[in-house]
Subunit: 262 residues, 5 copies
C-alpha cells in the first residue's frame, strides 16, 4: 500500500473540511445535489465520449493499482537486489531461489528470461529496453488521459453556474428581486466550487502523481537493464555498485563497503 | 457500429437534460434562437475561413465513420487473425480464402500485397510502415482540426453574451432599469451556456476520441507489421503469440495454449 | 481565386450582421469610433514593435496571395501532371512543350532543372527537398506571425473596456449614477466585442488556414519529389500512379486504368 | 539605429495617448502612483528572484542593442558582401582590404579566421556552425526570459486591483457606500490597465521581436556559412548567387546578371 | 550564499509591504487566517497527492541549496580553474594539490577520476557527459515540479473566494444586505490575493530561477568536459582559452594574454 498517497488524500479531505468549517458553521450551505449531478454527470458524460465506457473501469483500476497500492520506486533497493542476482549468477546458482527475495517486478521478469537460457545477452537487453519503452508509453498515456479529464470538472462547474444564473435572472423582476438574488446566486456558485475542488484536489494531482511515477519507473528500469548488462558480464560487485550509483542523486548513493558482501 | 460512442452521446444528452431539469421546470428558459445562431453560425463561419467549405463534409464524414461507425482496435483479435494468416501461409494455401475471415483492413491490405507475390518481404514491410505513418498523420491532423474548431464555440458564446449586454445596457436608464435587467441578462448568458456545452460535450471529447483511436490504430498496425514479418519467416505460432504479446498490456495478453491450434 | 476562402469571409460577415441584427434593430449601438481606434490602433502598434513596419505590407500580401488568390493543393491533379511529364521524358520530348500544360509551380521548377540537363538526378532530388523544407519553414513562420498577432485584439479589447470603466466609474457619484452607468458600460463593452470578433473571425481562422495550406503544400511537394524520382527512372506509369497513390487518402486515390493512356 | 523599432514604440505611445484622450479629457484619471508602484515594483521583484539582479542590466542592454540599435538582417546584402570576399579570395588579394567594406559581423569573423590561414576549411565551417548555434541559443534564451517576465505585469495588475478592492469593500457599509464605491473602483482598475498595457505594448512585442530577429540571424548566418564554403572552393560567382538565392524568398532573390561583375 | 536570490526575496517582501501600505493604513485588512489556511493548506494537500510527502523535504532542501546557497555558475572562473589543472597535468604534478584551489564541484569530480588513472580518456569524457545529462535531467525535473505546484495557490485562492461568496450570499436577504455585503466580499477577495501573491512572488520566480540555473550549469559542465578533453591532450594553454571562449558571450571572453602564465 502506498501510504503517502493515502495520506495525501486524507490531508486533502481534512484541509477541505477545515477550510469550509472556518467559513461557516452551516456545512449544509455547501451541499447541493443538482450541482453535484452537473459536475460529476457532465464529467462522466464527456469522458464517456472521449475514451469509451469500458475504459472507465480501466482508469479506475489504474488509479487503485498505481496511486493507492503502487509503491515508490526505490532505486537503492533495486541496486541491492541486482547485487543478489549478480552474486547468484556468478556462482552459477539457480536464479529461482534468489527470485523469491526480489520484489521489483521488472527485475523478476529479467531473471525469468535469463533462467530460460535460450535468448542471447544482447537480445535480452534489447527486449528489456523495448518493454521499458512500452510500459512507459502506456503509463504516460494513462496519466495524460486523467489530465485530459481534469479539464472537464471546472468546465461543468462553470456550465452549472451559468445554468443557475440563467434561471435565477429569468425569475427576477418582482419587488424583492435583490433579496432573493443573493442566496440563489450562492447556490449557483456551489457548482463552480465543486468543479474547482474536484479538479485541483483529485484529477490534477493524481495525473501529476502518475506522470511522476512513470518517469521514476523508467529511470529505475534503465538502471536495472544496466545492472543486468553488468551482472551477465559477471562484473565485480564493487564496479556494479559504482556504475549504478551514477543513476542516483548524490544523497541516495550506496556505499559499496556496506552493501557488498566480503 | 461503435456502441460505446453512441452510448456516450446518449449519456451526454441525458445528463444535460436532467441537469437543466433539476434547475428549473421551465425548459423554455434555455431556448433562444439568436444565441443558437451566434454560437453555431459563428463557429461555422470561422471554420469556413480555417478549413474551406468542402472540408466540412469531410470532417462530418470522419465524425460518422470514425466516431459512430468506428470500432475499437482490438489487439488480441488482431493477433488471432495474424495466426490464421500465418497458418495458411505456412501451409502454402491461397490467402484469398483466409482473407474472408479477417476483419482488420490493414491486415487485409497486407494479405493483398503478399498474395500478389511480386514485392519482396523487406519492401512489403517498408511500404506497410510508410502507410501506417501516413494513415496516422492524416487521422491526427483531422483530430487536431476538430480540436482547433473546439475553441470557437466558447469564443462565440462570449461574443454573443457581450452583444446582448451591450444592447441591454444601452437600453437601461429608465425607472425600472434594475427590474428589466435581470431577465435580459439571463438571456445574454444563454449564449455562454451554448458555447460551453457545445465545446465540452461535443467538440473536445470528439477530438480526444479521434486522437485516442489514432494512437491505438498506430500501435495495432505496428503489431500487424511485426506479425507479417514473423509470418513471412514462417515462424512458430507460439513464438508469434509470445512476441506480439509484448505490444499488449499484461491483462490483455493471450495464452498461446488457448489460441494456437495443435 | 480561392472561392472557398472568399465564401468563408462572406459567411462570416453575414453571420455577424444577422447575429447583431437579431439582438437589436439599432445597429448603431455597435458603432463606436474610440473602441475601433483602441483595438485596431493597439493591435497595429504592438505588431509594429513585434515585426517592424515593412513586414506589414508583406503580411498583407501573404494574406492576399495565399488566402484570397491561393488555390487548394490538389494532389490528384499533381499526379496527373506528373504523368504528363513522365510521358514526355520517356519519349525524349522537350519538356518546354509539356510545361505549358502544367499548373503546379513546384513541378514547373523541377521541369526547368531537368531541362537544363546539367545537374545529376540525385542532386536534383536533394535540391528539391531542401527547397520544399525552405518553403514550408517560411510559410509556417508567416502563419505563426499571424497567430501571434491574433492575441493582441482581445488584449486591446480588454484594455479599452478597462479604460472606459475607469473613466465611467470616476464620474459616478452624482444622484443618477446608476442610470448613467448602464448605457456607458454598454459602450465600454463594445471594445471587448471588437477585439473578440477580430480575433475569432479574422486572425485566428486566417492563421489556421495558412498553417493548413502550408502542411498540404509540404505533402504535395513531397509527392512531386517522389514523382520526379520515379519519372527520371523512366518507371512504368502504372507504377507511378500506384506509388504516388499512397500519399492520398483512400477516397482520393486515382484509378490507373482511367489516367494512364494506353 | 533600428528606425522601425523606434517608430513602433512611437506609434504605440501615440496610439495609447489618443486612445486615452478619446475616452476622457481628464488624463489625470489614468495617473495613480500606488498602481504604478505595484505593477512595476512587483514585476521588478519577481524578475529579481527569477534571474538575479545583475541580469537586469544585461536584459536592458540586450533591449537597447538588439531592439533599438539592432539592424534587420538583410540577406541580399549578405550575398553581395560574400561576392566581394569571394572575388578577393579568388584573386589571392589580402582580405584585410575587403573587410573594411563589409558590415556583417559574422562574415567579418569568418574573414578573420580565413586570413589567419592556420585552420583548415572543414574545421572553419564546423567552428562557424558551432558559433551560429551558440549565438542563436543565447539570443533565444534572452528572448524567452523577456517572455517569462511578460507574464508578471498582468498578474501584478490583477493583484493591485484585488488589493484595492479589498480596501474599498472593507470600508463600505456607511450611508453613501454606493456613491463612494464608483470612483474608488475606477482607481482599482488602473492597476489592471497598467499591467495589461505594459505587457501587451512592451514586453510581449519586444520578446517576439527578439525571437524573430534571432531566427532571421540564424538563417542569415547559415547562408554566410554556405557562402564561405563556396568561396573557399573558388566557385563561380554565378553559382554562388544561384545557390545562396535558395535561402531567400522568391521576391528577394538577386539577379546574378546585376550583381556579378563581368 | 547567493546574495542575489536573498536580495530578490527581500525586494519582493518590501515591494509587497509598500504596495499594501500605499493602499491603506490598516494593514490588518489583509490578514485573514481562514484564507491563509485554504491557500497554504490546499496547496500542501494537492502537492502531497502529486509528489508524496517525503518529497516535500527534498523540494525544500533544493530550494535552500540551489536558490539560497547556490552560486551563479561563472564560466570565466571555470576556464581559469581548467588552466590551473592543465598546467599541473602537463608538468606531471599530482592533481591532489591543485584540487584544493578549485571550487567547481564538477571539475573536482573530473580531477578525481583523472587522478585514479584507471579509466581511459575517451571513457572519462563519456562518463562526464552522462553525468552532466543526469544532473541536468534531475534539476530540470525539480524545477518543473515547483512549476506544477505554482498552479495550485491561485486555484485555491479562487476556491477560497468562491467558498466565501457562497457563505456570504447565502446569508443575504435581510434588510441591510447591501451594507453587510461590502466588507464580507472584501474578506473573500483576500484568498484570491494570497493565491496570486504566493504564485507570482514565490513559486513561479523560484521555478524559473531553477530552470535558468540548470541550463547555465549544463553549458558550464559542457565547457568543463571540453576543457578536460583539451588538457588531457596537453594542449597549449592559449588554444584552451581560445577554444573555451567560444562558450562565452563576447563580453565575458577572457584575454589569454592576461590569464596564461608565461
Amino acid at each position: 500500500m502506498n501510504f503517502y498517497s493515502i495520506f495525501g488524500f486524507i490531508i486533502a479531505t481534512v484541509v477541505l473540511y477545515i477550510g469550509l468549517r472556518l467559513s461557516t458553521d452551516n456545512m449544509m450551505a455547501f451541499y447541493d445535489v443538482p450541482s453535484m449531478f452537473i459536475v460529476f454527470g457532465g464529467t462522466f458524460a464527456s469522458t464517456a465520449v472521449c475514451f469509451q465506457l469500458n475504459r472507465f473501469v480501466v482508469l479506475f483500476k489504474i488509479f487503485l493499482r498505481r496511486v493507492i497500492y503502487g509503491k515508490k520506486n526505490l532505486m537503492p533497493d533495486a541496486i541491492k537486489e541486482i547485487l543478489l542476482v549478480a552474486d547468484a549468477f556468478k556462482k552459477g546458482d539457480s536464479l529461482s531461489e534468489v527470485k523469491k527475495k526480489i520484489q521489483d517486478p521488472f527485475l523478476i521478469e529479467a531473471c525469468n528470461i535469463i533462467e530460460d537460457g535460450i535468448i542471447q545477452k544482447s537480445e535480452i537487453l534489447s527486449i528489456m529496453e523495448k518493454r521499458n519503452e512500452n510500459i512507459t508509453y502506456h503509463s504516460m498515456e494513462e496519466a495524460n488521459k486523467i489530465k485530459t479529464v481534469s479539464k472537464f470538472p471546472p468546465a461543468f462547474g462553470m456550465i452549472g453556474t451559468t445554468i443557475g444564473m440563467i434561471v435565477l435572472l429569468g425569475e427576477l423582476g418582482g419587488e424583492d428581486a435583490m433579496k432573493k438574488m443573493g442566496p440563489a446566486m450562492g447556490v449557483c456558485l456551489i457548482t463552480t466550487l465543486y468543479g474547482a475542488v474536484v479538479a485541483n484536489m483529485l484529477f490534477i494531482p493524481v495525473s501529476e502523481n502518475l506522470i511522476e511515477s512513470s518517469k521514476d519507473a523508467f529511470v529505475k528500469n534503465k538502471l536495472i537493464i544496466e545492472g543486468v548488462n553488468l551482472l551477465m558480464d559477471k562484473s565485480n560487485p564493487i564496479l556494479i555498485v559504482e556504475k549504478l550509483n551514477s543513476y542516483l542523486s548524490p544523497a541516495e548513493r550506496l556505499d559499496w563497503k556496506k552493501v557488498v558482501k566480503k
